[in-house]
Amino acid sequence: MNELIGQILIIIGLAFDLFGCIGLIRLPDVYNRLQAAAKCVTLGTGGILLGIFVINGFTSLGIKALLAMVFVFLTSPTAAQALSRAAYISGIKPWEKSVDTGLEEELKHDAVA
């Protein structure tokens, strides 16, 4: 029973991973690709690791899988945010149909202050 629930969680995670990577290929600019891929792949890998924890229970392998899931959830969104800010500062223009986020005025305000 545990193995079946774990395999279902792994399959859900794999679907998120696959759709995130298709978004990485198909979307038009850096910010759209980063948004799709970072969110989907974080949740997908978290699902895979949670499935491995459910299959193994509180053994050495299961606890390590839970720890790796915590690290992925902590580090991946932070890296994505730093990367999108760096891309904007290094001069990559957003796609022409994107909505203005007001980051430009904020950066100007930071430079003045």
Partner: protein
């Protein structure tokens, strides 16, 4: 064995990321793809640890998470044009 099917799908996702690293028109595109591929490799290592019953592969997955985080932060600092001591 169903886990080998799962690992094949993850390897296909890694090839999609490699396509973006090869084609990506700007440097941030390639950095995004490297970040995503690091997270995919963590999942691959975890599945490999489950199928082969070798516990040290899960340690490799944890270390790969932290190493990928530091690498992406360093690349982001480089793209911003700042020095590493700021």
């Amino acid at each position: 064995m169903i886990y080998y099917v799962f690992m094949t799908i993850l390897a296909f996702c890694c090839f999609l990321c490699l396509y973006r690293i090869y084609r990506g028109p700007t440097a941030p595109d390639r950095t995004v793809a490297v970040d995503i591929m690091g997270v995919l490799v963590v999942g691959f290592c975890a599945l490999l640890a489950l199928t082969s019953a070798q516990g040290f592969l899960m340690d490799i997955a944890i270390a790969w998470t932290l190493q990928s985080y530091v690498a992406v932060l360093a690349l982001a600092k480089y793209l911003e044009g700042k020095k590493f001591n700021e």
